[in-house]
């Protein structure tokens, strides 16, 4: 019985990881081709638009047309990938909610984090997607698993939750979800849906070193403090 259960979980996990890999493979060529075909046109049009905005209405209109056309051609694949990975993220999130085993929860969290990273790629935030995979899925999750190993006598230890508490939490979270979804779906967000190329890593670095210099320095000091603090907290007497 136990063995059977484990095998099923393993198949499920292998399936999810395969899905992730397939998504990455599908996404890679699409991003590359968009880069090759779209970048020069857009760059030129964009520069013109910026320099003499008043004189060159015609050029701006062409650029808009180009962008819209490209967005439409990539729309079907984008929708497919979005739904597949939305299902991955939400399904593994639900599995974390249901699971009572901490190791299994950590593994499902890995799937969730990877799915969110793919969503970052879909949203043209390539650098953040990579950072999400490296720091979150590669670093933070390993830290959590080390935490599990260091703080339990057996990896199969489980703490049962009272049924009443579960029901109360379920009701509260359902109300919260309904309220938030009502706002999110009903609100008239000021979207400006032009399919831009994602900002380059150079843009990102410039923003980090100019506009956001103070938060950047503050967060580096914070990391130092956290490193010392964690070492101090975890030291053996």
């Amino acid at each position: 019985m136990v063995c059977e259960h484990t095998t099923r979980a393993r198949f499920l996990l292998a399936g999810l990881l395969g899905l992730l890999a397939a998504g990455g493979l599908l996404l890679g060529p699409r991003a590359a081709s968009a880069h090759e075909t779209g970048q020069p046109h857009e760059h030129a049009a964009h520069a013109d638009d910026h320099h003499d905005h008043d004189h060159d209405h015609e050029h701006g209109a062409t650029a808009d047309y180009d962008l819209r056309q490209r967005s439409e051609s990539g729309g079907g694949l984008e929708a497919l990938l979005f739904y597949v990975f939305a299902a991955t993220v939400l399904g593994s999130g639900l599995a974390i909610c249901i699971s009572t085993n901490i190791v299994r929860m950590a593994v499902y969290l890995f799937v969730t984090l990877s799915g969110v990273a793919v969503m970052f790629f879909l949203l043209l935030a390539n650098f953040i997607g990579v950072i999400q995979l490296i720091v979150y899925a590669g670093g933070t999750l390993i830290l959590l698993i080390f935490g599990v190993m260091l703080t339990s006598k057996s990896p199969w230890v489980r703490f049962d939750v009272k049924r009443g508490e579960l029901i109360a939490a379920g009701v509260v979270c359902t109300v919260l979800a309904v309220a938030l979804l009502t706002v999110v779906v009903g609100a008239n967000w000021p979207t400006n849906d032009t399919a831009v190329e994602g900002a380059s890593v150079a843009d990102f670095g410039k923003a980090l070193m100019t506009t956001y210099l103070v938060p950047f320095e503050a967060i580096s000091v914070l990391l130092l403090v956290v490193m010392i603090g964690a070492a101090l907290l975890a030291r053996q007497e």
Binding site: L123, G147, F159, A199, A230
Partner: protein
């Protein structure tokens, strides 16, 4: 339906956030609560990136991405400290069941 927009991503982020809150509230294992916090932070991060993609008016702005980077860094820092605290908790009480940490309760 097949035209993916801002609202689609916001719905996914909202559901991730709510599931994170549920995990935080219902798990008694301290590490499990930490996993819930990570889910909530990921939902917030997805929100930031989605708004950055759909509301910059065609300019290569990175404001939302910078915010998301800070969220990721803070999450890593928070996880490191929380795991250290969990280890102390375990050293003192020989368990990571947060319901047992009630020595200060009246």
């Amino acid at each position: 339906m097949f035209d993916i927009g801002l609202t689609h991503y916001l719905v996914v982020a909202t559901l991730l956030f709510v599931m994170g809150v549920f995990v935080m509230v219902t798990k008694r294992n301290a590490i499990g609560i930490l996993i819930g916090v990570e889910m909530v932070l990921n939902g917030a991060s997805l929100n930031l990136i989605a708004f950055n993609r759909y509301t910059t008016g065609g300019l290569p702005r990175v404001d939302g991405q910078v915010g998301s980077l800070f969220v990721i860094v803070l999450a890593a820092a928070e996880a490191a400290l929380a795991v250290a605290i969990c280890m102390n908790f375990y050293k003192n009480l020989n368990t990571v069941d947060v319901d047992r940490g009630d020595e200060l309760a009246g």
